[in-house]
Point group: D3
Chain length 320, copies 6
C-alpha cells in the first residue's frame, strides 16, 4: 500500500513515492528546456515539472509506467505542482496496481469463478470446448480479470469487463427463457465473448487507456480475431456455428455508426445487443448518481456523451 | 365462426358472407362511376367492385366496419376479384371479431389475469391506487384486452398489447433485482403503463389501423393524458412521483427522433427503454422467422423497416 | 430597488445586500470543509465562499432563492470573489424580482391586455370558452406574465413568453388571411396556447432555469396536459376539435428530433410551426445584433447553437 | 383549344391530335425494333407505341416537344395504349400551351402587375434600379410569367413562380413591420429575386421538367448568376449591398443539405427562409387537401416527400 | 458455349438447356402445390413454374446452382414463363461459367499477372512474404480471379475484384510518389488486400450473391481474418506492421456508417480510402453511361443508390 | 525582415516593431476604459493592452492590418502581455508579408509556372481561352499566388491554393489516363479552377481569415461567378461546356451538406471530388504528423474536426 496519495499532497510537502506517469512532454520556456509531467494514482492527478536534466529523465520511463519520484510540492497558477528532482521506473515488486487504478468491489477471483460457472452451463460441445480453451489460457485470463469494461463511461475499473460480462449473461439467460426460438447456448457464449477484444484494446498498466490495437483495429475486431484463432484449433468446429458466434461479437454494438461492421441479423444478436446496452447504460447512470448525488442537488452535471442531465432523485427524508 | 374465408375464394364461387371493409373509393371508368373496395378477414385481402348503385352502396358502411356481402368471384388482371351485388353493415350479433383479426395464442382473460397479478405486486400505495383505478375501469380494460401491440411490426394481433406489456414487465423485474438504485415499484408501474395510450391510438374494429387520435396526438401523449386524468382523481398523489412516472411513459422510445418528447433521464427510464426495445425486436424477429422459414431458405425477404435480411437458420437435420 | 449590483462590486468593498443564490456546493480543501456559492442578479454573476459554519449556512436557502448577504470582496485567481460571513433567505417584501431577472421592455399588464384582446377575437364558442377559462385562471395568468420565452436563446426575459406569443399570433393572423382553407380561430387558439407549457417548464424565481417538470415532461407535453385538463371542464367540447388543437401544441416544433412527438399534419399546424420558428429566430438574431454590434465589428462571435457567425452589419456612416 | 384530351381516350377511338412527347425509347421485342412513347397533356398521360419506321419517327421530335399524332387506341396489359401511325413536331401556331400544362387561376398579366407593384415599392435606388433592369428585360419576364414554382410539390403550374413569389413578399412585408432591425427594401428585393433562377432551371415547354442547367448548376446558383450579371451593368452598385442581396438568394433554402451553399447569417435571410418555407408548405398542403378530400376520407394518401399522411378534415355537415 | 440463352426464348419454344437457379419457392394456388422458379444466365432472367412433382424437383438443386432443364415457353401476365417438366443439377463438365455470369473484358490470367507484378514490387520483406503466401495459395487465388468487385454497383462481373484492385493500386502508386511521409510498400500492400474478404463474402457460382459469411461477418472482417491467419504463419512478422496493415483493410470504407469498424487514422489509410472510392464511383458512373446512353437521351434513369440522375453527355456530332 | 518576433518576446523587453493586429476590443475595468489587442506574426500570438487614449488608438488601424508598436512586455495571469504605448498603421514599404504569414516552401513564382504549364496542356480551344484569360489577369493572379488553400485545416499558408491546385491536377491527370470516358481537358480545367473562389473568400493581409464574401457567398459560388464573368467575355463559348465546367466547380465538395449546391453528376465531377478530398486530407494528415511527432509520442492530440487521434508512427530506430 502506497504511503502517500495524490489527494493528500499539500504545498510545502517533501515527497518520495510512487505515481503513474500519465503523460510527459519536453517543452521550452524562456530559452530553457524542461519536462512537463502528468502524474497520478487512483485518488487523482497532479502536474509535475523537471528543470534539471529534463531529457535524461524523460528517457527513464514511458507514459503508462509507474515511477518512483523524489521532489516537493509547490503552487503554480494557484494549483499544486510537483517539482521533481529524481525519477526512475518502479520495479514490479515495489508496487501494488490497486493503488493506481480504481478497482472492482468484488474480488477478481470471485468474478472469474462466476465466469467459469457460466462457461460450464453451456451444453453445446463445440461452444463449450471453445469457451474452455479461452478460460484455460492463463495469460489471457490473467489479463481478462484486470481489464476494465470501458475507459470512462461504464465499468471503468479493474475487473469491470468481467463484472459487465456477467450482468449481460444474466439478462440473456432471462431472455433465453422467454423466447422459444432462441439458441440458449449460442446466446450465452456470445454474451461471454462479446467484449473479449477489450483485453487487447485497453491497457490497464498504470491508468486506463487505449492500446495501439484498440485504436487501429478496435475491440470488436480484436475479439473476432481472438475467437477466430481459437476456433482454428478446434477440429470440426461447425463453420455455420462459427459464423453465427462471430456475428454476435461483430454486431453487438447494434448499428454501423457505433462501430459494428454488421447489424444484428439473428434473434440471438438482437437480444445480446439490447442486453449489452441495458447493462452499460444502467451502470453508467448508477455511477453518476452515486458519485454526484448530494443534499439538495437533484440533477447531475451535464453529461456530454449522452447530451442530458441525469436525475439524481429527491433527498431521502429521514424521520427523527 | 365465419363460413367462408378470403383464402378459400376461387374464381366462379358464389359468395355470401362477412368481410371487413378495409377501404372504399368511388372511381370512374369509361364514363361510368363504380365503387372499388378492399375487403378482408384474418386470412387475407381481396379486391371488390360494385357497378350497380355504387354511390348508394358506398353509404352503407364506413371503412373499418364489417359488412355482409353477396356476390361472386371473377378474375381481373389475373387476380381474383369479388363482384359485389349487395352489401350492408353487419350487426354485432352476427359476427365474431376473431374471424377478422389475428389473435393472441393465449386467451385475453388469462393475459389480463397476469396483468392484474403484476398490479398487485406493487407495494407503493399511490402507484398501487393508480394501477387499480385503471384496472377497475372496465370500459378501458375491455379495450386494453383487444388492443394490438403494433400495427405491422410486432405483436400485431388482438391481445398483443397485453402480451408485450407482460414481457416488458418480466425483463424489468429481472433488472430491478440486478441494480440496487432502481425503484422497483416505479419501474414496474412504468412497464405496465408505458404503451397504454395505444388503447386510443389503434382501432381494432375490423382490421388494425391508427385512429385520428393515434395520428394527431400519438400513443405516447395519449398514454400520458390517460395517466394524468387518473392521477387527478387520487388525493395526495405525490407530484414528484407523478413526474417520474410520466417521464417513464414519455421517454420510453428512447430518442426524440423515435417520437419520445423527452429522452430517458432516470435509471428506471433507461432500463424500461431497453426492455421495451428488446421485447419488440425479439417478437418481430421471431414472427419473421416463423412465417418465412422454409426448407432451403436461410434468409428472410428484405425487411425494409430495419434495412436488412434476417437469418432464418439452417434447416433442421432430422436423423433417419 | 437594490442598493448594490454585481457589476459594481470592487475588491475591498464591504457588502450588505440581496443576491440570487444560483448554485451551492459543499467542498473540501486541505482538510477543511467550505461552501462554494454562485451569486447573481440581473447585472451578472460572482463566486462566493463561506469558511465559517458552511454546513449550517448551506441549509439556510435553496438554489434559486434570493438571499441577503453580509461579506466583503476579495480576489481569487485574479477574479473577484465574495467572502460571505452571513447569509439568510430574503423575505418577499424585501425584494423586487425585477432587480434579479432581465425584464420585458413593455409592461407585463400591457402585454397581457393584448393577449386578452386576441382571445376575444376568437369566435368559435368552444375555443373561446377554453381560452377564457385559461385567461380567467389568475394563478395561471400571474405565472404566464412572468414566464420567459426561452432560457438562453430567444425572449429570455420576464414577459418573454407573452411577447413571443403575440408575435406568433400576428404572423398567423396574416397567414389566415392568405390561405383560404385555414380555420382562422383554430390557428389563433393554437398560436395563443402553443408554448403555454413553459409556465410549468421554466422557473423564473431568482434566475431563469428549467423545473423538474421542464426536464422530466417537457414544455410541449406540459402544455398539452394543461389544455387537456381545461377541456375536461367544458361540456360538449367537440372531441375532434380537441384533437386538432392538441395537435397544434404537440407538433409546433416541426420535427420529432426537436421534441415534437408528432409532426405537423394539418395546414394550421404547418403554418404555426413556421410562424413560431420565424419569430424565435428573428428575435434571437436581433438580440445578438443589438448586444454585439460595435464599431468596426461586422460579425458576431461564434453562435454554437446554430453553428455560424451572424452578420452585424456595416457601421452607420454619420454625416458631419 | 385541343379537340381531344388524354382523359377522354377510349379503346377503339381513332385519334388525330396534339400531345406532348414526354419520353421516347427505342426498344426491341421478339427480334423486332419498336418505339415506346409516353404522351400527355394537362389531363393525364398515356403510353404509345410505334411499330412502323420506329427509328425514322423517333427522329421527328425530341422529348419535351409537342407533336401531332395519328393513330388509334388499343388496350395493352389492361391499360389503354395509343398505336401511333404518324407523328410530327407541332408548329407553334397550331397549339396553345395552356392545353398541355396546368395553369394559374389568376391571369399571368395580373400576377405580373402585382410583381411590378412590389418592385415599385422599393425605395433604395440601387435595389430599385436592379429590379427594374430585370422587370424591363422582356425575354426574361416572358419566361418568368410562365415558369412554375416547383416541379411536383408546390405551385407546380404555369405562373406558379410568380404566385409563390408574391405570397413570400407579402409575408416578408408583414415581418418587416414587426422587427425594427430589418432592412425592408433589402428583404423585399430578396423575396422578389429568391427563386428567379427557376426561369433557367425549369422548362415548361410541353410539361414541367428540369433543364440541364437546373440539374448541373441548380436554381439557386442560376439565380445568383442572373443577379450578378445585372449588377455588373449598374454603375456604383454598393459591393456590400450586392453581397447581402446574393446572400438572400443563396441561403434561402435554410440549410446546406437543402442545397443552399451558405446558411442564413443576416436577419433578412432568416426571415426570408421561413417565409419561403411557410408559403411552399402551405400551398402543398392546400393542394393535397383540395385534390384528395372526398366524402368519408379524412386522411390523404401517404406523402412520401414529407413522410406523413395529411389531415383532410371532417366532412362538412350540411343542414337539411 | 450454351446453345440457348434467356434473351432468345420465345413463346412456343421447346427448351432443353442449362440455366442458373436463382431462386425457388414452394407455393400453393387453388389448393394445388407448385414450384416457382427464377432462372437466368448472363443475358437475363425468366420465371419458371413446375406443376408436376414440385417437391421432389425442388430437392434436385439449391438456389445458386446451375441446372439442366426441359420444358417449353408460355406466356403468363403477358411475360414469358418457362413451364418446366424436368430439372436436374448440371455436372461441372457440362457447363462453362462464362455463360452465366458477366465477365471481365480482360482475361483473368492477364489480370492476375498484373496482380503478381504489383506483389513483386513490394520490397519490405514481411509484407512481401505475406503477399506471396496469399498469391501462392492456389485455392484462394482461383477464387480471387473469379470474384466480382461488387454485387450490383461497380465491377459487378467475374474478375471484377482483380480489375478494381489493380486500379486502386495504380492510384495509390501515384499518391505514394506525391506525399513524402507515405510508406509506399505498406500502402500498396493495403491496396492489394483491401477487398480480399470479398472472396468469402460473394458467391459467383451461377449468379452474383452474398454468402452467409458475407452477411453475418461482412467482407471487411473476412479480409482481416484472412490476413490475420496468414500473418500467424510468418515468423517475426512485426506486430506494429500487422496492426497498420489490418487498419488499412478495416478502415478502407472511410466511415463507421459505411461498415468500417474504425475510421482512417494513418496517412496511408486516408489515401487508400479515397483511391478506393474514386475507382468504385468512376467505374459505376462509366458503367451507367455505357449501358444507358442512347441518341437524344442526356440523363440516366434515377440511380437510387446515390439519389441522382447521371449525365450521359450530348450526342456525338458526326460530320457528314 | 522583422527585427523582433513574437516567440522571442520576454517579460521586461522594450519592444519597437511590426505586428499584425488580429483583433481589438474596447473594454472596461473598474470604471476605466482600455483597449484589448491580439497581436501576432508568423511565429505566434500575444495579447496586448492600451491604457492611455484607448479610443483614439483604436481608430488608428483595423483588425487584419499590420501596425507598428512601441511598448514593453509584462506578465498577466502568468502569460506574457504587451503594454502598448504607441501604435500606428504600417506603411507598405516598411513590411514584408512573409514575416507575418506562414509561407509555401516553394517560391510562388515557381508554383505559378507550374500552373501556367498545366493551362498550356489544355487543347480544347474554349477551355484554353478561358484559362488564359484568367492567367493573364494580373490583379487576379497576384492574389491567386498569395491565397492559402484553407484557413486552418490544409494548405493553410501563402501559396497554399496553388500548391493544392497542382496536386489535384496531378491526381486528375492520372485518372484521365485510367478511365476512357473522361474528357481530359474538361477535368483538368475543372481541377485548375475548382477552388478559384478562395481568392475572394479568404483574406491573407496580415493573417488568414474569411472575407465578408467568404461568409455571405462562399468560395464555391464566388468561383462560379468569377468563371461566369470570364465566359461572358468569350464569344461562342459552348453553353453546354460552360454548364459542365461550372458543375465541376459547384459540385466539387461532393455532398450538399459540405456546401456544394449540386452533387457530382458527371464522371469528371466525381473524379475531381475524390482528387480534391485525397489531397486535402493527405496534406492535413501530413501537417499534423510533421508538427506533432516527437520521441515516444505515437498519437496526435485529438483532432476535433475529424473526431479522431491521428497515428504519428513509431520512433525511428537509429542504429548505433
Amino acid at each position: 500500500m502506497k504511503a502517500l496519495f495524490v489527494k493528500d499532497l499539500k504545498p510545502g510537502n517533501q515527497v518520495t513515492g510512487f505515481f503513474v506517469l500519465r503523460r510527459k512532454d519536453i517543452k521550452e520556456y524562456d530559452g530553457q528546456t524542461f519536462l512537463k509531467l502528468e502524474l497520478g494514482d487512483k485518488t487523482g492527478r497532479i502536474d509535475g515539472v523537471v528543470w534539471d536534466n529534463p531529457e535524461q529523465i524523460a528517457d527513464e520511463a514511458q507514459s503508462g509506467e509507474i515511477v518512483k519520484i523524489k521532489g516537493w510540492v509547490t503552487t503554480y497558477k494557484e494549483n499544486p505542482q510537483l517539482k521533481v528532482e529524481k525519477l526512475r521506473r518502479a520495479k514490479d515488486e515495489e508496487i501494488d496496481l490497486a493503488d493506481f487504478l480504481p478497482a472492482s468491489e468484488r474480488s477478481l477471483d470471485s468474478l472469474f469463478e462466476d465466469f467459469k460457472r457460466a462457461v460450464s452451463s453451456v451444453q453445446d460441445p463445440h461452444l463449450r470446448r471453445l469457451l474452455e480453451l479461452l478460460s484455460e489460457d492463463s495469460p489471457l485470463t490473467e489479463k481478462l480479470k484486470k481489464t476494465p469494461g470501458g475507459k470512462l463511461w461504464h465499468h471503468a475499473y479493474v475487473g469491470g469487463l468481467l463484472a459487465h460480462t456477467l450482468k449481460v449473461v444474466q439478462i440473456c439467460e432471462e431472455a433465453a427463457s422467454m423466447y422459444e426460438l432462441v439458441n440458449r447456448d449460442l446466446l450465452i457464449a456470445g454474451a461471454l465473448l462479446h467484449d473479449m477484444g477489450k483485453i487487447h484494446a485497453y491497457s490497464a498498466k498504470g491508468f486506463l487507456d487505449y492500446t495501439d490495437e484498440g485504436r487501429l483495429v478496435g475491440h470488436i475486431v480484436s475479439g473476432d480475431e481472438l475467437v477466430d484463432r481459437k476456433i482454428q484449433m478446434i477440429e470440426d468446429f461447425p463453420p455455420n456455428l462459427a459464423l453465427q458466434l462471430k456475428h454476435l461479437i461483430l454486431s453487438h454494438q447494434g448499428e454501423l455508426e457505433f462501430a459494428s461492421p454488421v447489424v444484428p441479423k439473428t434473434i440471438e444478436a438482437i437480444i445480446l445487443h439490447y442486453a449489452d446496452e441495458m447493462d452499460a447504460k444502467a451502470d453508467a447512470f448508477a455511477h453518476i448518481i452515486k458519485t454526484q448525488k448530494s443534499k439538495g442537488k437533484k440533477w447531475s452535471d451535464w453529461v456530454s456523451l449522452i447530451n442530458r442531465h441525469i436525475y439524481l432523485g429527491e433527498d431521502e427524508v429521514t424521520e427523527e
